[in-house]
């Protein structure tokens, strides 16, 4: 499938126009969207916007100019309905755009539509969307993963060259793995979260879904960097990622932590990781042993911290200033009805969980202990990254599961993120690159690097992509 960079060079050589790219996208969507349901909103005036971009195309337009993209529907888009796949925001039209969206717009990128997700990004299959699930383009009986499922589908099905997603515990990498595309989660603080509907503020990060690693580098460069609206965005200058990739990966040190290929990981996936490790070694990367013994506790810590923050972040959806308000006999009844009717079951489950762990008398037992665990994980990673530049692991324990298989079993659903969550807890950057498929289904290979070392991560990822192909 065509990369973003190839599309950009066709535009540069005038072999295509923004208008023709939008037409191609719409006909691809026309052909398969009814099956796949990747979009919640398509922009009706995308064609006019493309024409305008073609007319106004400047000399030396950047690599994103005029190329349509999709954005997960939890990113604020001024004047364009933004739902978080929730009934409570079903008709919500924001008055401002997320910083990442603004930065893309400023570079001439063309928003084609808003993609489906698990409600408020809570889930691993998009089955928790209030507007119905998305389907995996490789096998539509299976889930595309989540929560950025719609974005992964749009990229994997050939609708858009790239899409923005968001991560809290693997919501970009896991659907990328399930759909066979590249999913990048930047380090915490690398991309401004301003305008991303908060799920768990200390874990959330906007990420990219692309068709190869270099495209991820291009899109990341476009959205990364300090934003005065987000105090947690870092000051560090944004490196030249494509330039870094061109250095090659020879000499980089990597490790395959045993904790990520043990029990619960499908043998075919483990074998693919080990094959990839051999191939990287053959390419001149150095393999080192690393141990990350606290890994098994990451999921527990995550399912305390993330719901705790979510319970607070979602308090603003009270039916008072926006969203449907259910009238009640008194204020409390109105709150209960508005939120009771507006939120889906998984969101309620996490709000309950989060409210519980923050309650007086339980805070120390749960929240504080989880934070201590998180600190331990960070230390452990930090020590590991003294020995290696990147860690190679599977992205997911299994390939894409069938629609309906886990929707009533939250714990089984949560396991889908077991291998991606540690990177979020430690603020690392991480990427999922497609490996060799297993029984026709995509397999994701994950690389993780130290915070703010996207340059190293992308170098290794480009090499990995090359060798496993």
């Amino acid at each position: 499938m065509e990369t973003l960079r190839d599309a950009a060079s066709r535009l540069r050589r005038a072999e295509a126009t923004s208008g023709s790219l939008v037409e191609a996208a719409f006909s691809a969507i026309e052909a398969r969207e009814a099956d796949l349901h990747s979009f919640l909103t398509l922009l009706p005036d995308a064609r006019e916007a493309a024409e305008e971009l073609d007319r106004a195309r400047p000399e030396g337009a950047g690599p994103l100019y005029g190329i349509p993209y999709a954005a997960k529907d939890n990113l604020m888009t001024e004047g364009v309905r933004t739902t978080a796949a929730s009934r409570i925001l079903a008709e919500y039209v924001p008055p401002y755009s997320a910083t990442a969206i603004e930065r893309l717009t400023a570079q001439g990128a063309l928003l084609l539509g808003k993609t489906n997700l698990d409600e408020f990004a809570m889930g691993s299959s998009t089955e928790h969307s209030a507007f119905g699930p998305s389907r995996n383009p490789i096998d539509p009986t299976r889930v595309p993963g989540g929560s950025s499922g719609g974005s992964a589908v749009a990229v994997a099905a050939g609708f858009t060259h790239y899409a923005l997603g968001s991560e809290t515990g693997g919501s970009v990498r896991q659907p990328a793995a399930f759909c066979g595309c590249v999913g990048l989660k930047p380090s915490y603080g690398r991309v401004s979260r301003y305008g991303l509907i908060a799920f768990a503020s200390s874990l959330d990060q906007i990420g990219t879904l692309t068709r190869d690693v270099r495209d991820a580098a291009v899109v990341l460069a476009a959205i990364a960097g300090r934003d005065a609206h987000d105090q947690t965005s870092v000051q560090d200058a944004v490196p030249d990622y494509l330039g870094a990739i061109s250095l090659g990966a020879k000499g980089l040190r990597f490790g395959v932590p045993q904790e990520y290929i043990g029990e619960g990981v499908a043998p075919a996936i483990r074998d693919e990781v080990l094959r990839a490790a051999d191939l990287l070694e053959a390419q001149g990367l150095t393999r080192r042993d690393v141990r990350l013994p606290h890994t098994p506790y990451a999921l527990d810590a995550y399912y305390i911290i993330a719901p705790a923050e979510a319970s607070s972040n979602l308090a603003r959806f009270d039916g008072m200033r926006y969203g449907p308000r259910a009238e009640g006999d008194d204020l409390l009844e109105s709150y209960k009805s508005s939120r009771g009717e507006g939120f889906g079951a998984e969101v309620k489950r996490r709000i309950l969980l989060g409210t519980y762990v923050l309650s007086a008398g339980y805070y120390d037992t749960y929240y504080l202990r989880a934070q201590r665990l998180r600190a331990l994980l960070r230390q452990e990673f930090s020590a590991a990254f003294a020995d290696v530049d990147v860690l190679l692991t599977p992205t997911t324990p299994t390939t894409a599961f069938e629609i309906g298989a886990r929707v009533d079993d939250p714990l089984a659903m949560y396991m889908a993120d077991a291998l991606t969550i540690p990177a979020n807890l430690a603020g690392l950057c991480a990427i999922s690159v497609p490996g060799r498929p297993s029984e026709g289904l995509p397999v994701g290979l994950q690389l993780m690097a130290a915070p703010m070392r996207e340059d190293v991560l992308l170098r290794a990822a480009a090499a990995l992509e090359e060798v496993v192909r």
């Binding site: 908060a198 007086a360 805070y363």
Partner: protein
């Protein structure tokens, strides 16, 4: 049984900053409803707070002014509760690591109140009921708010009031607030309980919330102390509860509070990084603090100034600084105090004099006092010159000259005025000859009228006596 009253106060002060605590909306009272709002202070999905450095600095200065220890690291926390005036469903506040800890305030009447903490937070919107529905103005949402929590060191409603007034005075000295009571920019919650005198018994306390007037506070606490004493006397139990002050009825009433038995589920605000406050920065801010009311009062009293005048001068920073400047320019402290709390205060009350932007410069007050002392101006002339300076500015010399108020010292000229006064008021002169002393002051007054106060009263008197031959 004799009871003593135990009171602690939480004072809230809205900081006067150009913009709000976490966004760039204007911090301005009285604008049309919902005209200063944005995604951040309205709590729209996806919006994030960006802290206002000026508010943090003002908070540090106020905490320093209250004698607090400033934490080297301060942090924001989320206080979670639902209310329609609270846009995000939580208030960004401070729990474990507030800006200031362990301060103290010296009251004007003596006595020290310990401050347990000073924390920075954001104000909520304003919920109003009109025409049978509730509406919210979010202009106030996100306005920086300082919460100052005292220890339960206050032993009477009067002391509680004096403490609150002193906090407000310090804040005004530091310029961190407008402290407009009528705009609700200074509010207080009080905790009050009683215990048998001389014991350390811990009895249930009643919280009286959201008072915005000193008078209400004093009345509410007085009522509440009596109410609790009465309950104990009839061997009842005081319920630990929140009550509100019903001013028209003059009673406190139980309140179904929005916070009743609430668990705020505090946790560290993940959208904001902990703030490092360097020693050097805090020291620089401390060094730059102005002289504060308590120091002012001590210095004034030490100069021998009367208590009431001390109180009046220290009441406002501009007045205290005016006093300092006048003394620095050579005015005798006691005289300066007398004039500033007398004639100038009267002109201030009339709205003729603004001590924060004085047209009558302090050096001119010093000059005025010098001329009075040296006899160049009479008291009466000096008042006229001062009134003119206050309105027009300028120097004492030029003003006295222009108004023709330079003292009439020429005995012959004064004698002429005296004779004229006696001629015009034969009856009074006769009365005086007959020994009616009242007539003397009348005649002196007539001389003053004729000379517009330019004659020294003693001189007028002695010449009158000469002229009527006593």
């Amino acid at each position: 049984m004799e009871f003593e009253t135990v009171i602690g106060l939480e004072v809230h002060i809205e900081l006067k900053t150009r913009t709000k605590m976490f966004c760039s909306c204007r911090n301005e009272f009285g604008a049309p409803p919902n005209s200063h709002i944005c995604p951040v202070c309205l709590g729209l999905p996806g919006a994030l707070p960006a802290p206002n450095g000026a508010a943090i600095e003002a908070a540090i200065r106020m905490a320093l002014g209250l004698g607090c220890e400033i934490s080297e690291r301060t942090r924001f926390d989320r206080k979670n509760y639902f209310y329609p005036d609270l846009p995000k469903g939580y208030q960004i506040s401070q729990l474990d690591e507030p800006i200031g800890l362990d301060g103290r305030v010296l009251l004007p009447g003596g006595g020290e109140v310990r401050i347990s903490r000073v924390q920075l937070e954001e104000d909520a919107g304003k919920l109003q009921h009109e025409a049978g529905r509730a509406v919210v103005d979010f202009n106030r949402a996100g306005v920086p708010l300082l919460e100052i929590v005292s220890q339960p060191d206050l032993s009477s409603p009067q002391e509680a009031r004096a403490y609150w007034e002193e906090i407000r005075r310090i804040a005004l000295y530091l310029g961190v607030t407008d402290a407009r009571m009528e705009e609700g920019s200074v509010r207080a919650d009080a905790n009050i309980s009683l215990r048998p005198r001389g014991t350390n018994a811990l009895n249930p306390r009643v919280e009286i919330k959201n008072m915005n007037s000193f008078r209400f506070l004093e009345r509410a606490l007085t009522y509440e102390a009596d109410r609790q004493a009465e309950i104990y006397r009839t061997s009842g139990r005081v319920a630990q509860e929140t009550r509100g002050w019903d001013d028209p009825r003059g009673v406190t009433v139980p309140q179904r509070s929005k916070e009743e038995s609430q668990d705020y589920r505090y946790f560290p605000e993940p959208d904001l990084l902990p703030l490092a406050l360097s020693r050097a920065r805090v020291d620089a801010l401390r060094d730059a603090l102005p002289k504060l009311p308590a120091d002012r009062r001590t210095a004034l009293a030490a100069a021998g100034i009367a208590e009431e005048q001390v109180r009046l001068i220290a009441e406002s920073r501009p007045r205290a600084e005016y006093f300092d400047a006048a003394v620095a320019a050579g005015a005798a402290p006691l005289e300066a105090a007398k004039w500033i709390t007398g004639e100038l205060a009267r002109l201030e009350n009339e709205g003729a004099f603004d001590v924060s932007a004085p047209k009558a410069e302090p050096a001119e007050l010093a000059e005025l006092l010098r001329q009075v002392d040296g006899g160049a101006l009479t008291q009466a002339s000096a008042k006229q010159v001062l009134a003119e300076l206050v309105a027009e500015g300028g120097t004492v010399a030029a003003t006295a000259e222009r108004l023709g108020l330079v003292r009439l010292d020429d005995r012959d000229a004064v004698r002429a005025e005296v004779r004229a006064a006696i001629q015009e008021n034969e009856k009074a002169a006769q009365d005086l000859r007959d020994g009616k002393e009242k007539a003397m002051s009348f005649l002196v007054g007539q001389v003053m009228r004729r000379t517009r106060g330019r004659v020294a009263p003693d001189l007028a008197k002695s010449l009158i006596e000469e002229e009527i031959g006593r």
